[in-house]
Symmetry: C2
Amino acid sequence: MTELISREIHLVSRPDGLPVPANFQLVERSLKPTESEIVVQNLLMSVDPAMRPALSNNQTKLDEAMPGGAIGKIVNSTSSEYPEGSYVSHRSGFREFHLSDGSDLTIVEPQGEPISTHLHVLGGTGLTAYGGLLVTGQLQNGENVFVSAAAGAVGSVACQIAKIHGCRVAGSCGSDAKVDYLLNEIGIDYAFNYKTSSIAKELHKGLPEGIDVYFENVGGAHLDAACGQMRPLGRIPVCGMISAYNNKGARSEGVTTLSNMIYNRVTMKGFVVYEFVEMREKFLSDMRDWMRDGKMKYSETIMDGIENAPAALIGLLQGENTGKMLVRLADE
Amino acid sequence: MTELISREIHLVSRPDGLPVPANFQLVERSLKPTESEIVVQNLLMSVDPAMRPALSNNQTKLDEAMPGGAIGKIVNSTSSEYPEGSYVSHRSGFREFHLSDGSDLTIVEPQGEPISTHLHVLGGTGLTAYGGLLVTGQLQNGENVFVSAAAGAVGSVACQIAKIHGCRVAGSCGSDAKVDYLLNEIGIDYAFNYKTSSIAKELHKGLPEGIDVYFENVGGAHLDAACGQMRPLGRIPVCGMISAYNNKGARSEGVTTLSNMIYNRVTMKGFVVYEFVEMREKFLSDMRDWMRDGKMKYSETIMDGIENAPAALIGLLQGENTGKMLVRLADE
């Protein structure tokens, strides 16, 4: 293949607090793929809260294209395993084209669903919610479940998996429009806007019997309120703490209610999605069944063009998305 | 048996903050045991941090003799199962005599060791350390272990069990005398006085590779420092949070470092000793072996007379004890 031009996003300075556009730079590169290299044109890239802590350490190197989940189409390949026209997922987002030897690519085979779903409900964020709730959180049918950042990509899937298991589900979010979305689209039992209410009081109202499982996405004041209301043998799978990520050392607001963990024998456990990769086939099968039955809905917030990827990330960290935040890099 | 006079301690008002003597009252009662009642003369009673949160709720009723671990001698009985002269442990401390139908009594059979040890190293506090570290904490040989309140009854046993398992052990305590005790008697690798140093800095010095297991007795600033230094797959068995118990709602100082639990996949788990009762025989056998081999030492802080039980509890909550805080109610 001849030379091609790929625009990519570099981190050029580490953010102090909320990232600002000047932390990022759009760089145009000329790529010259070798004979054996697979050329992937990225179609969609994923924007995730976990990218923020990675900006503060060596997971994201300065003056290089940033890492991040993406789905692309193979536009040049001599590999029979990765033929031209295939869709693949990989971790080299934040660039328009990705050159690969294949070892970092996973073939994606849509079964009628939009390819974008493989970056959320059928991808990493879906598996995060599925494994975090069912494995780390040991969810049982009929329990009382609280999900924070419930209108986000992970939270909205966690809410629906809990509903599918007959649970009573309360969710927090950051706008009244998201409250509507949670109650009327996602279909949970109780939703509140944490910016305009007392989290502790809302939890008492929404889950009057207390909380069996708190699916933790936010940290700080959310955890402070929820931990004090955990029931005996409650579990807190810790998926993320978005409220802390912009702070130095990812420190959250202080949590003061942890002594409730003692007598109620509560377990809090951090997890990361790669713990669940072996469950992927069962996960895909369950999720496709639930989507087919109308029990698993999703929402996407899509920004267009690689040049908008920094704005998408900054917006995500301010809660501007409902459901999954994506950047479209090219049409399918 | 004829009438006997028993002095007992009642809670007469609930403490606001640190308990004060006026919260308690010494009451003299006349007991008239029936034919079938077993009469236990209490010899020693246990004073434990967990008694403090129980003063704030219905676990401790007002104007009744307070509950609490004790060892007594049966001085009148027609039961063949609980004969006169037997030693028994039970939960009706804070009184000189206890009348029982036997259902709440456990026979204690010393094998040469002082009877008092059955209220600590061979009793509830020992089993708390044993189960909390080995079961809840999943201790592995050679790990890096931090124990807070390390010179206390539970902490000092936890330290020694960790040493027996080849671990590097750091401990915190509240006086320089206790630092000496931990280094020179209990034999841990690093000890510091948290009142005169930075917990986070001391942990970096004492456990430079980070912490695999934090045996949590204190909460608040201790947890804030330790959680930030947990290693991948670290565990935090939560035994107690004595720093929080005198606060309204048992709220601790704020913990801000919990986001470290995510990427390092840390587990924090509250536990109570009754989870481990089925391990009691193995526990007693292990502990007696370790005591015989000089690997399990203990210290007692003993106050004399039921009238001093409130002072013993207030003193314990201020860290006046080294090792187990006991009150002697009668000579053996």
